[in-house]
Amino acid sequence: MSIRRILVANRGEIAARIVRTCHKLNIETVLAASEADRDSLPARLATRTVCIGPAHPTASYLKPELQVQAALGTGCDAIHPGYGFLSERAAFARLCEQHGVTFIGPTSEQLAIAGDKLAARAAAKGVDVPLAPGGEAPSLEVARELAARIGMPLLVKAAGGGGGRGMKLVERAEDLDAALELAAAEAGAAFGDARVYLERFVTRARHIEVQVLGDGAGNIVHLGERDCSVQRRYQKIIEETPAPGVPQELRARLHDAALRFAGRLRYRGAGTVEFLVDVARDEFYFLEMNARIQVEHPVTEMVSGVDIVAAQIAIASGSGLRLVRGEAWREGCAIECRINAEDPARDFAPSPGTVRSARWPDAEGIRVDTHIESGARVPPFYDSLLGKIIAHGRDRAQALTRLRAAIAVTRIEGIATNLGLHAEILADPEFMAGGVDTGYLARLLERPARAAVRQHG
């Protein structure tokens, strides 16, 4: 079955990026845009744009029935959900399936398993993928007993959550009850699912994830790993591949664990299996699977040569993985900086507004994924990602040099951005050495010199 017209159910840089690949493949695009995005770059790139609702995402991008109606009404065969919004909603995938529109992603059953962290833990356990000690906490009694076995510190997590949302860190046993109550209440409100579970909090770990592609018939390939340890409050801001300083043997075990997990689900489409890795102790734990394309996918594309969006479309149209023969041409190193509309000097407050002028870098080995041009508006309703600058090099040192130069010539005027913070990280000896853990950025932000600058500047 061939796909001839795709509804892009997303906005921003990922919408522009999906449209570009579609047009390269001679596939028409219909962008489903909110009122605030009618004049955006993806709206101009798409073959056609339809306005699906008001600016607020709950009245537009997050409405499954509007997206499917827009697809049917414009003659689209398929919907690409991008990331965020409806991309991991099993009910949305089911609605598409029911109306004969191809959902470019996993099946609704696979989304349901990946989205239920307890079901995902069970699936991981079933194929011997290591888990951080923990388990479900259906009552206070069970939780207390479990906590005693796990030890402190530990995390209370929402079964229906993910990406760090609805998580509580417990450092003393006497704080457990309060944390459980709070986490369950928050999870119920945010995800409509009050189930929580406990997991050992692994300090000094790195966040390393493996990109996989599955054909839905049991064949899975991986495109290597990404290190996403530079995070602030679980939000990644710098990602790179390969993960620096990881022994080949450990790397292979990570890849293999990801293949086993995706294989257990007979996974269809592009997905990412996330792990916490303690390189010093030669240990790793399964975190979760993201059943969609990820923000940081370009670093993998730059070293593997695989267009992951094209692979998603090929899989959705039944061509399987024959266009993807990984490994052989993987070479070099790629690093990505997420440029956000937020002000690091004001505790990373979002800074929506109008971009007076935007100048992005253009140099050898540099790729820019963005929807922001001079005059573009950054509405307050959506996430703050303005674009991604990705550098490729024959090795990490060359990629870093290129990325530093690219960040230095980038100018975004009119709104606050985190460009300065990126310049600082890329020049920091600890980051340059490679292999920082997930606590690195918080420590950098608390350094005395920086704290002083923040107070007075």
Binding site: R4, I52, A70, L72, G73, G75, H99
Partner: protein
């Protein structure tokens, strides 16, 4: 037999890819008439609501009509995206025609989203001057459905 939106999309493609301007199809008592760049395509199914036609090729961007400057004219805009119907059911007379007098709560059409019918009200008092939206066609959020003229009230 039931004709799905996908079938219609496929049929429309046949027309789009051909050198013909019109296509008439008859399958099991179901008649379809498709016309390129033409009027509203008609779907004559028995008692079934017509599916939204997709004859508008994606390359054709809908031209935004000139902005309304006459202060007496009020635009009635689509409150949500969906398929616009001018009549309560197929074959029934339209809710309003040009020249009809409307009150703010007069229903002027229906917008269907996934089988859910939403009544659209005039929102203003006056006489219908022009009907912009076509029957059975996808309308976008905020698209002008019709114009109401306040002047022509006696």
């Amino acid at each position: 037999m039931t004709l799905t939106a996908r079938d219609i999309a496929e049929i429309t493609r046949l027309l789009e890819d051909s050198s013909f301007d019109e296509l008439e199809l008859e399958i099991d008592g179901l008649k379809i008439h498709l016309r390129r760049n033409g009027d509203i395509p008609r779907f004559l199914a028995k008692g079934d609501r017509p599916k939204p036609p997709v004859s508008e090729a994606a390359e054709v961007r809908p031209l935004s009509p000139p902005p309304i400057t006459d202060p007496n004219l009020t635009e009635v805009r689509a409150p949500l995206l969906g398929t616009f119907y001018r009549a309560p059911k197929p074959g029934a007379p339209p809710f309003v025609e040009v020249g009809a007098r409307v009150e703010p709560d007069t229903v002027i059409g229906i917008i269907e989203v996934m089988k859910l019918m939403n009544a659209v009200r005039a929102g203003a008092r006056g006489v219908v001057r022009d009907i912009r939206a076509r029957d059975g066609v996808l309308v976008e959020y905020g698209e002008t459905l019709l114009l109401i003229d306040a002047r022509e009230l006696s």
